[in-house]
Assembly symmetry: C2
Homo-oligomer: 248 residues x 2
């Protein structure tokens, strides 16, 4: 166990921040950390938009499903998959690389690149005593978010990250049992996973029962099945296509 | 600057490892670190397959484009997007959530979840003095990789990660200028990016010229335009569909 691993294992999403902005120096350090992550074939498909304008933050908070901590935090970042930069590069060389950009493969690469960068920033922020929370909620209204941030074709905002000085001390929800998530040499048999999930249902049910004084008793299996009952953000396929991505 | 940020900023991909396996304790710590990452709506869409069987590692190395370090390392992990687990959960509850799983939105969530977990593992490994390299090359032949690792429907291997004791000291390639990657309040105008890319072309050209003694002089703009000239892994859309993912 060292300081880095301690930081990683101590992660909890923070949804309430003190009214204290991040310094410019901290913001730069965080972006540099994000940039240091691995990137597929040196493509560097991630762009980060820092949202400082309070009007825009309030609008984003509303678009993300009225999450107040999108507006009230130390800083707000939006992580984008960005192939617009590559079209500009190709244009300098008088070439066209759109066939590559619009592929499913490129869509995977871009999503991975942006996520690796984001997680570097998350860990760096937490190491500075800051709290973070990912905001997938910006995908509730991605067209509006994209317009608000002037994102051109081939630039897809994927998620936000609110960072700030923590003003809450949330509990840590139990993760899936390690053997459910870590398989050796090949994917486990269905029966093994089924047994692990039943055990996890019990464990998480006990956790929620205790935490809510019995008001909420559903475990992970029950919760997830309910929350995934109907598809979310069903406009996504079409919107992503309009951005010129994930087409072929 | 602290130990965590130092570790993050010092990242360089390592492609040559000493012949020394990771201990079981280290492997467990790394997986726990991966599990600690944020996960969208508590869905935990990532499964990690540890490949220990040397025959399978050799086969993977071949499938990934004859990358020897896929077989020769301290340990090899494959990160998968995994919604099979959720179908088992739904099945326990006698429900069907396939409409949710096959959506583009779920495809984004799964790719992000697996990537955040992976980057936690990368940082944790590097903090222990280990080196890492992401292996996107497993996507060269994903059908064969998927079969080799017994991945059922809704389980998509995304990338591998080779970890081990470094036996090389590679240089650090210059990243894009920070202003090209970090925009404030909205995406930058094309002209600004164009200028930054021209500056970066010069910087990276100088870097390669120096590093190769003049054998290689192309900068990032030239390199990227050439490497993205024609689409890669064009089977991906169809294969991902067959897995039941990214359909609607």
């Amino acid at each position: 166990m060292n300081k880095v691993i301690e930081t990683i294992l101590a992660h909890k999403s923070i949804r309430k921040f003190k009214n204290k902005p991040l310094s410019e120096e901290t913001i730069t350090t965080l972006v540099e950390c994000a940039q240091s992550a691995s990137t597929s074939s040196y493509q560097q498909v991630c762009t980060i938009i820092g949202v400082e304008d309070q009007g825009k933050k309030l609008k984003l908070a509303e678009l993300a499903g009225n999450q107040s901590y999108v507006a009230d935090n130390g800083y707000f970042f939006v992580f984008c998959m960005d192939y617009n930069r590559h079209t500009i590069a190709a244009n300098i060389m008088d070439k066209n690389i759109n066939d590559t950009i619009q592929s499913t493969e490129a869509f995977i690469v871009g999503t991975v690149d942006a996520s690796l960068a984001a997680q570097n920033m998350a860990i760096a922020a937490e190491s500075l005593g800051l709290g973070i929370v990912y905001i997938g909620g910006i995908r509730n209204n991605l067209k509006e978010v994209s317009e608000l941030l002037y994102c051109p074709e081939y630039v897809l905002p994927l998620f936000g990250m609110a960072i700030g000085y923590p003003d809450a001390e949330p509990g840590k929800k139990p993760r899936l049992p390690l053997p459910a998530v870590f398989h050796k040499n090949g994917y486990k048999k269905k029966e093994e996973t089924e047994n692990l999930l039943k055990q996890y249902e019990k464990e998480t049910s006990e956790y929620y029962t205790k935490r809510t004084g019995g008001k909420r008793t559903e475990g992970w299996v029950t919760q997830i099945t309910a929350s995934m009952a109907s598809p979310k953000r069903t406009y996504m396929k079409e919107f992503v296509r309009e951005k010129g991505l994930n087409k072929t």
